[in-house]
Structures are given as C-alpha cells and as structure tokens.
C-alpha cells in the first residue's frame, strides 16, 4: 500500500470512528437536549479504561505508572472500556440531573471535564499524567502486517459505526425517540402527562455514554495510546460543530456533519504545507474554522443541513382526516 492508499484507508477509519463519537453526542444533545460538555471526558474514560485493561501491570518503580493493568485481550478490554464509561456516565448523570437548574447542568458538566483533565494530567500515579497510556494494540496486530492491520481496522470500524447507527436509529424512530425530543422541548409538559424526565434523560445519557466509551476504546487501540493531548476540550467542539452543521437530532445528519467538518477540515489541513517553524498554527486555524462553521450555522440555520423531520400521519390516518368521524 502506497502513501496515498494508506492515507485514504486511515481517513476512512477516522471517519468511521468519529462517526461513532458524533452519534453518541447527538443522542445526548441533539435529540434529548443535554449539552454534555463532558462528552469527550467520557470518551477519554473509555479509552483509558480499555488501555489499563489491555496493558500488562505497570512495572514497579518504573518510569511508567498507571492503575490497573489486567492484560486482557482486545474484546474484553473494549467491553471493559464501555462498561467503565457507562459507570462514569451514570455518576455524572446522577450528579447533573439532580433537579438542577438548566444552567447549573452546563456548569456542572463543564466543571467536571475541566477538573478531570487537570487531575489526570497532574497526578501521574493515576494514568501517567501527560504521557498517558501507550502501547495499546488492536486485534491481531501482531499477526498482521501494518497494511493488513490498517485494512482490518477499517473494516472493524465500519462494522462498529454501522452497528451503532442501527441501534441509535432504532431508538430514534421508536416512541422512545419521540420521548427524548419531548423532554428536550419541554420537560414540564412531558411530566404533566406522566413522563419521568429523569429516567428518559438518564437512558439517553447512558446510551450516549456507552457510545462515547466505545469510540474512545477503538480510537485508543487504533492509534496505540491515549494521552491528555489527544483529549481536550477542542474535541468536544468538533463533535458539537458536526452536529449543529450536519443536522441537530438526526443521526444521519450528525454523520454527515462529521464527515464534512472533521474530514473536510482535517483533509484540508493535510494538503497545506507545514508552515515553517509554527507547527501549532495549522491546528489552531482548523479550530477557528470549525468554530466559525458552528457560529455560521447557529446564526443562519440552527437545525443543520439535514433537519429533523417532524412526525407525520400514516397514510391510513391521512385518509381519515379528510372524512372526519364526528
């Protein structure tokens, strides 16, 4: 595989993995209206958990330090990552949904992601601080050639993103999806007809959290590691922008936004020559571009490119509205 083919394959893999991530946030934010500013922290939780599950125990007194180290195989490690991400999400939700005012919710979630980032970065015995967990591997990585691994992982990611899409879409078109949106629009009105908004929000939150964990686990094993540099607030912005631009609340829209924004801006970046002695310039410019896209859509078309489609009457009922029964 030459460099160009490699590029295409890895772009495809990243597109699929980002797709998983964006579907989860779309469920929480787009459909249910929970602005989860700690979403990427959940992704990190999944990544780190998978990491410490897959890696062997940290050597005593060595330079590298982290908790855990179970030496589990890939599937178990990934499952562990998802489970831990769900636990984290549950605790987060429990704290955040405590009948708090709407603005406290945003505040709490923001504070959590800020604080967790600080702790993980500064307290090395936990997850090796700035270095993070390294040396992770995907399935069969030892047996495959680098090319083979790339292709395999592309296939793996596609399978996962399609499966995630199917699950989320099923939730979305079911009455449960309608309930998510009702809670998003007006919690009190939904409660007034007997809907338990805490249960609904927690359900959406957990599914989104599981997706985040899965995405984090897969990215970490694909790239071989996870460190605070890979995970900062800017990542949440990229996902948020993808949802706002692509189609708020609509899974397909979120995927579209993810492909357009993340791949578009990433790809554009690859073709711009490295700007001399300022390697930090390109990511910064990409960040500004992403932010501007978000602002532009919020200002002119907040529903995004693929707007949510309102529920319509089924054909049979339409016939009946023409001939009223009363």
């Amino acid at each position: 595989m030459n460099a160009l083919e490699f590029l295409v394959v890895s772009l495809g893999t990243f597109a699929a993995l980002n797709g998983i991530l964006v579907l989860g946030l779309n469920l929480q934010f787009g459909s249910t209206g929970i602005l989860n500013l700690s979403y990427f922290t959940t992704v990190a939780v999944g990544a780190y958990a998978t990491g410490v599950a897959e890696l062997p125990p940290a050597p005593h007194g060595g330079l590298v330090q982290y908790v855990g180290g179970f030496n589990w195989p890939f599937p178990m490690a990934v499952a562990f990552g998802v489970v831990i991400a769900c636990c984290f999400t549950f605790v987060l939700g429990g704290l955040a949904f405590l009948r708090l005012r709407e603005d406290y919710l945003g505040l709490t979630l923001f504070s959590v992601q800020a604080g967790v980032l600080l702790i993980v970065t500064d307290y090395s015995p936990f997850l090796d601080g700035p270095r993070g967990v390294q040396g992770l591997s995907g399935p069969f990585q030892d047996q495959l050639s680098p090319t083979g691994f790339e292709v395999m992982y592309l296939g793996l990611s596609l399978v996962f993103v399609v499966a995630t899409y199917v699950v989320i879409r099923n939730l979305d078109i079911a009455p449960l999806g309608r309930l998510f949106r009702a809670i998003r629009e007006d919690e009190v009105a939904a409660a007034a007809v007997g809907k338990n908004s805490w249960r609904v929000k927690t359900t959406a939150f957990l599914f989104g959290g599981a997706t985040a964990g899965l995405g984090g686990a897969l990215v970490a094993t694909y790239t071989g590691g996870w460190d605070p540099g890979a995970w900062q607030t800017p990542e949440t912005l990229i996902l948020l922008s993808a949802i706002v631009v692509g189609g708020r609340g609509r899974p397909l829209g979120a995927l579209l936004g993810s492909v357009l924004l993340i791949e578009g801006i990433n790809e554009a970046g690859l073709f711009i020559p490295t700007l001399g002695d300022r390697p930090d310039l390109l990511p910064a410019l990409q960040g500004v571009a992403t932010a501007l896209a978000l602002f532009a859509f919020l200002w002119w078309r907040p529903q995004g490119l693929l707007a949510e489609r309102p529920e319509r009457l089924p054909k049979a009922a339409v016939v009946r509205t023409v001939q009223p029964t009363r």
């Binding site: 500013l37 505040l107 922008s241 410019l285 500004v288 919020l298």
Partner: protein, 292 residues
C-alpha cells in the same frame, strides 16, 4: 500557617476573577465559558505594554491589561454576544456560543502569539514576614489591590444607579425593563466591568505563575467556577466568600494530599454544594434560568 498565607493570596486573585464572573452572570443570566480567555487576554495585553514594545513598568501594564480586556469584552458583547442572544433566544445557544468562543479565542491567541511560554517583566520579589505569614511584596500588593477592587465594586453596586440596575436585573429581567432600566446598556457596561476584572486577575496570575501561555485562564476557570458555585452564582459577596474558601482550602489541602489531586478538593466542594445547598452559601439570584 504559611499555607494559610499563600491561600489568602490565591484567594485574592480568585476573588477578583470570581467577582467579575458572577457580576456578568447576574446581569446576563448565562454562563460565560470564555471567561478564562478574558484572563489570558489581559495577560497578553500586559505583556505588550510591559515587555514588547512599550516597556512600561508592571503596574501600569496591569492597568492597561485590565482596560484592554474591558474594551475587548465590550466589543465582543456589542457585535457578537448580544446579537446572538437576541436572535437565538435560549440558554443552550448562549452556552454553546460562549463555549465555542472560549476555544476559538484560545486558537486565535496561538495564531497571534504562538504557544510558547511568555514572561512578564517585573523587578525582583522580596519576601516579608507579616506576623505568622510569609509574603512577597507582590503578594501584599495583590491583596491590597483586591481590597481596593472589592471596595470599588461594593460602592458601585450600592451607591450608583448602574449598580442598582445590575442588581435589579439579577432579580428579574422583565421587571427591570418595566421599571425603565435600559437593559442593553447595563449589559454592555457589565461586560466591560467583568472583562476588566478578568484582565487584572489574568495579569496577577501571570505574575504569580511567572510564565504563562495561551491556556492561562482556562485552567484557572475551574477554580473560579468552584468559587462562584460554592458562594452562590450571581452573588458578589458569595463569589468573594467562595474564593476565600477555595483559595485557602486548596493551599491547606495540598499539605495533606498530592498537589496533582488538588482539584479533587474543589470537586468535593462542588458535589457537596450540589447535594446539600445547590443555591450556594449566599443563595443564587432569583432570576429564572431561561430568562435571557
């Protein structure tokens, strides 16, 4: 004892920052996640005044940092935030906008100033023993400045019509409008004041930390949020009390736990507040959350 002393210094900087944050929230009723970027802006403005190209002494540079940030905040509100809030009413939009703004500003700072570490230019620090505490001349200066600022803000809120208008808006926006308060003007002025305080705090922080980069304010924002939630969001007195508690608690806390775990203390405070008294020590402003 020294820890308490350092805690008070931290608390001073935190108090100014938290005050600016809570004043703005009290009037606009939405969180400014980009507040950290305001602190950073102040530091960079002071850098330009202090190091290159103006070579002023640190104290005028601090003032300039504050004033420049104030202007920045005013412009930001006038041409960006206020129009957005007017066009897309809804708390979630305001939160997304300020959150996105915080990241975009961080990137813009990198583009303009680069991500290397900068240093302000100020003459040597001298340690003084004041009673049981060990403070440098700068520490003492910071606490003095904070005292002046607190007094000034107190007078503003209690003696001026602007201050009264700010407090009225914190209670109920519609009522304030009905009473003839020019809410847009008050919002504008509040952004200026809030940004000024942020800028000054940012310069202080840059001095205290010796070197700084584009993420100066972002890391501090966590402590600021802890202080205002603890004290009661929208309440100036609460912000100050919260700042003192957090500032002192962190300094004393790191005597017992590894410094990397210091944020855990803030988390404990936050969780405690959320569970036991969500409105904070002083109680939050009564204005309903959706009312922008």
């Amino acid at each position: 004892m020294n820890a308490l002393g350092f805690g008070l210094v931290d608390a001073s900087i935190l108090a100014i920052a938290a005050l600016g944050f809570t004043l703005q929230f009290g009037v606009t009723n939405y969180v400014n996640f980009a507040y950290g970027a305001f602190l950073t802006f102040g530091a960079y403005m002071a850098l330009a005044a202090n190091v290159e190209p103006f070579h002023l002494s640190i104290w005028p540079a601090m003032l300039i940092g504050g004033v420049c940030t104030a202007i920045f905040g005013l412009l930001l509100n006038q041409f960006f935030l206020a129009p957005f809030v007017a066009r897309r009413r809804g708390l979630i939009f305001a939160l997304i906008v300020t959150f996105t703004l915080s990241l975009m500003l961080g990137d813009i700072y990198i583009i303009i100033w680069g991500s290397d570490f900068k240093e302000l230019d100020y003459s040597g620090t001298v340690a003084h023993e004041v009673g049981p505490f060990l403070w440098s001349n700068y520490d003492i200066a910071f606490m003095f400045i904070t005292g002046v600022v607190l007094l000034a803000v107190h007078l503003l809120l209690t003696r001026t019509s602007l201050g009264r208008s700010m407090r009225a808006m914190g209670d109920d926006l519609n009522l304030a409008r009905v009473c003839g308060i020019r809410t847009e003007a008050v919002v504008a002025a509040t952004w200026g004041i809030s940004a000024f305080l942020a800028g000054v705090a940012g310069v202080m922080l840059a001095i205290e930390q010796r070197t700084f980069t584009t993420t100066l304010g972002d890391n501090f924002l966590f402590l600021i949020l802890g202080s205002v939630i603890l004290g009661g969001i929208g309440r100036p007195a609460g912000a100050v009390i919260g700042a003192v508690v957090i500032g002192v608690a962190v300094q004393i806390g790191v005597l017992f736990i590894p410094s990397g775990l210091a944020p855990v203390l803030v988390f404990v405070a936050l969780i405690g507040v959320m569970l036991l008294r969500p409105q904070g020590l002083m109680g939050a402003t009564p204005r309903p959350p959706g009312q922008l």
